[in-house]
C-alpha cells in the first residue's frame, strides 16, 4: 500500500508539474477550448437579443406554452437565457467539445512524443475527426449517465421540497445545497470512471469499446490519480453550480443581471477546468504508458 501511494503521488506530482508547465509555455493548447468559450459567449449574447423585441415574437408562442406570460417580461425573461443556454451549452459540449477534446489530446500527445516538443493543431484536428465517432459515443455515455444523476437529484429534491415539514429537520434551502453538491460529486465520479477513454481512443488508436475496457483497467490501477486529476478541478465549479441552483433568489437579492456574471463565470471556469483535465489526464496516461514500456524493456 505505501508503494502504491508513493507511485500515485509521484505520478500526480509529475503530471501536474508537466500540465502547468505546458499550459504556461504552449498557450496554443488552450485554443480548441477557447473557441468553444467564444461560441458560448456569443450564444449568451444571441439569447439576450432573442428575448427582446423584435426577435422575441418568434419565441413568444413557445415561451407562453411552456413557461407562461411572465417569462416574456423582465426579470423572468433573463431566466430564459439560463434555460436556453443550458441546452445550447450541452449541444456545444457534446459535438464541438468532443472534437476539441480530441484535438487537445492529440496535441499533448504530439508534444510529449516528438523530440523537439512541438505540436500541430491541424494534425490534431485531422486525428480527432478520424476518431470522432468513437469519441462521441464515449461523450454520449458520460452525458447520459450525468443526466440520469441530475434528473434523480431533481426528483428527490422535488419530493423534499413538496413536504410540509423539513425533511430530517434540515432546512429546505440547505437541501438544495446538499442536493447540488451530492449531484456534482456523483457526476464528477462518473467522469472519473471514463476519464482516460478518449485519451486511449486518440493515443492508442482504439475503438470506443476497447478504449473503455482499457480505460477501466487503467482506472483500477490509478484510481487515486484519476480522482485527483478529474474530481478536484471539477469541484472548483461547485460554487458556480450552487449559484445556478437558486439563480432566481440570487437575482432577487442582488440585481437580475447577476445572471450574466454567473453564466460568464461558468463559461470561464468551464474553459479552465476542461483544459486542465484534458491535458493532465493525457499526460498522466502517457507517463504511465512510458513507465510500463520502460519496465518491459
Amino acid at each position: 500500500m505505501p508503494s502504491y501511494a508513493r507511485s500515485q503521488g509521484s505520478l500526480l506530482q509529475r503530471t501536474w508539474e508537466k500540465t502547468f508547465f505546458l499550459l504556461r509555455t504552449r498557450r496554443m493548447l488552450i485554443l480548441p477550448f477557447a473557441i468553444i468559450t467564444g461560441l458560448e459567449i456569443i450564444t449568451i449574447a444571441a439569447l439576450f437579443f432573442l428575448i427582446q423585441p423584435p426577435l422575441v415574437k418568434y419565441i413568444a408562442p413557445v415561451v407562453l406554452r411552456f413557461w407562461g406570460e411572465q417569462f416574456l417580461h423582465y426579470p423572468f425573461n433573463l431566466l430564459l437565457i439560463s434555460k436556453f443556454f443550458y441546452y445550447a451549452q450541452m449541444g456545444l459540449a457534446v459535438i464541438l467539445g468532443t472534437f476539441m477534446s480530441g484535438v487537445t489530446i492529440s496535441a499533448v500527445r504530439q508534444y510529449t512524443l516528438t523530440r523537439n516538443n512541438t505540436f500541430l493543431l491541424g494534425q490534431g484536428a485531422k486525428q480527432a475527426l478520424l476518431r470522432f465517432v468513437h469519441l462521441l459515443i464515449i461523450t454520449l455515455i458520460v452525458v447520459c449517465l450525468v443526466q440520469i444523476i441530475y434528473s434523480l437529484e431533481q426528483k428527490v429534491l422535488f419530493k423534499i421540497m413538496a413536504r410540509e415539514r423539513n425533511f430530517l429537520g434540515i432546512a429546505k434551502d440547505l437541501w438544495v445545497i446538499i442536493g447540488t453538491c451530492a449531484a456534482g460529486v456523483t457526476s464528477g465520479l462518473v467522469q472519473v470512471l471514463f476519464a482516460f477513454a478518449q485519451t486511449i481512443v486518440i493515443g492508442d488508436n482504439k475503438n470506443f469499446l476497447s478504449a473503455l475496457m482499457r480505460n477501466f483497467k487503467f482506472i483500477a490501477g490509478n484510481f487515486f490519480t484519476a480522482i485527483m486529476l478529474v474530481l478536484l478541478p471539477l469541484l472548483v465549479y461547485l460554487p458556480v453550480a450552487l449559484l445556478k441552483a437558486d439563480l432566481f433568489k440570487l437575482m432577487n437579492q442582488t440585481i437580475p443581471e447577476v445572471l450574466f456574471v454567473v453564466l460568464g463565470a461558468g463559461v470561464v471556469l468551464g474553459l479552465l477546468i476542461n483544459v486542465v483535465i484534458t491535458v493532465s489526464v493525457t499526460i498522466a496516461y502517457l507517463e504511465r504508458s512510458r513507465e510500463a514500456e520502460e519496465e518491459q524493456e
Binding site: 427582446q52 417580461h73 423582465y74 440585481i255 437580475p256
Partner: protein, 281 residues
C-alpha cells in the same frame, strides 16, 4: 496591466459590452426600471413603520421618472398606482387620492384600471378612519365598474371590514349582500368564466362565515344543476369530515370521487382519506 498587451482582448470586451448595451430595447430598460422601483417600493411598504420620509420620496421619484419617460404606457399606470401607495405610507392621503383620481380620469375606456384606481381611493378613506366615505366609494366601484374583476372583490372586502372590526351584525348583512351580488352576477352572465368565478365566491363567502350547512346546501344545489367536479366534491367531503364530523357522509363523498374520477390525483387523496376513515374507530 497585462491586458494592455492584448489589445485584441480589449476590443472584444468593448465590442461585447457595446453590443449588449445596444441590445437593450426600450421595453427591457423600462421593465428593468419598473422592477427595481417596485422592489424598492415593496421594501418601503414592508418597513412602513420605520422607513424614513427621505427614502419614501426617493422611491416616489423613481416612479415619477418612469412616468416621465413613458407617460402613456402600462408602466406609467403601474407607477401611478405605486406612487399612490407610497403617499399612503407617508399618510399623505389627499395626495394619494389626487393620484388615483387622475389615473381614473386619464384611463377612460380602460375600466379595469379605473376600477382599481377607485378601489384604492376608497382604501385611502378607510385608512384615514372615514369608513362611511370609503363605503360610498366602494359602492361606486360596484355600480360604475360592475363588469370588472375589481368590483367582485368589493362585497367581501366590505364584509371583512365589519368582521375585522368586531361588528358581527353588519358583517352578517354584508356577507348576505355579497352572496346575493355574486349570485346575481352568475345569473347575469351564465355559461361564462365569470359565472364560475362568482359561484366560487358564493361558496367562499359561506366558508368565510363558517356557515357549513349553508355551504353544503349551495354545493348540493350546484350538484343538481351541474355535475360537480372533483375539487368541489373534495371540499364537500372535507366539510363533512372535519367541520361537521359526519363520517358516513364524508365516506360516501370520498367514494363518489373514487368512482367518478378514477386515475386522478384527487382520487388518490380521496382513497387515502377513505382508508384513514375506515381504520378510525
Amino acid at each position: 496591466m497585462k491586458l494592455t498587451k492584448h489589445k485584441g482582448v480589449q476590443w472584444i470586451v468593448l465590442g461585447l459590452v457595446m453590443v449588449m448595451t445596444a441590445g437593450c430595447s426600450s421595453q427591457y430598460t423600462m421593465e428593468r426600471k419598473l422592477w427595481l422601483a417596485n422592489r424598492a417600493a415593496e421594501k418601503v411598504v414592508r418597513n412602513e413603520a420605520v422607513i424614513s420620509p427621505f427614502e419614501v420620496n426617493r422611491v416616489i421619484r423613481l416612479f415619477e421618472n418612469i412616468i416621465a419617460k413613458a407617460p402613456d404606457s402600462s408602466y406609467a399606470v403601474t407607477a401611478q398606482l405605486r406612487i399612490g401607495q407610497l403617499y399612503e405610507v407617508r399618510k399623505s392621503y389627499d395626495a394619494a387620492r389626487e393620484i388615483y383620481a387622475a389615473l381614473e380620469t386619464s384611463s377612460a375606456g380602460k375600466v379595469e384600471i379605473q376600477a382599481m384606481a377607485r378601489f384604492r381611493l376608497a382604501q385611502t378613506y378607510e385608512k384615514e378612519g372615514n369608513w362611511a366615505q370609503a363605503l360610498v366609494v366602494l359602492q361606486d366601484v360596484l355600480k360604475k365598474y360592475d363588469k370588472t374583476g375589481e368590483s367582485l372583490a368589493v362585497p367581501l372586502y366590505i364584509a371583512r371590514y365589519y368582521h375585522k372590526n368586531g361588528d358581527p351584525a353588519n358583517a352578517k348583512r354584508a356577507y348576505a349582500a355579497a352572496i346575493e351580488h355574486f349570485q346575481s352576477m352568475a345569473d347575469r352572465f351564465p355559461k361564462t368564466k365569470a359565472a364560475l368565478l362568482c359561484r366560487n365566491l358564493v361558496l367562499r363567502t359561506y366558508i368565510e362565515q363558517s356557515d357549513w350547512p349553508g355551504a353544503l346546501d349551495y354545493i348540493g344545489a350546484l350538484d343538481k344543476q351541474y355535475r360537480l367536479g372533483p375539487d368541489t366534491l373534495m371540499l364537500q367531503a372535507k366539510i363533512y369530515e372535519q367541520r361537521l364530523k359526519n363520517k358516513p357522509k364524508a365516506m360516501e363523498t370520498y367514494q363518489r370521487i373514487i368512482n367518478d374520477f378514477p386515475n386522478t390525483k384527487v382520487m388518490e387523496v380521496a382513497r387515502k382519506n377513505l382508508e384513514a376513515l375506515n381504520t378510525k374507530k
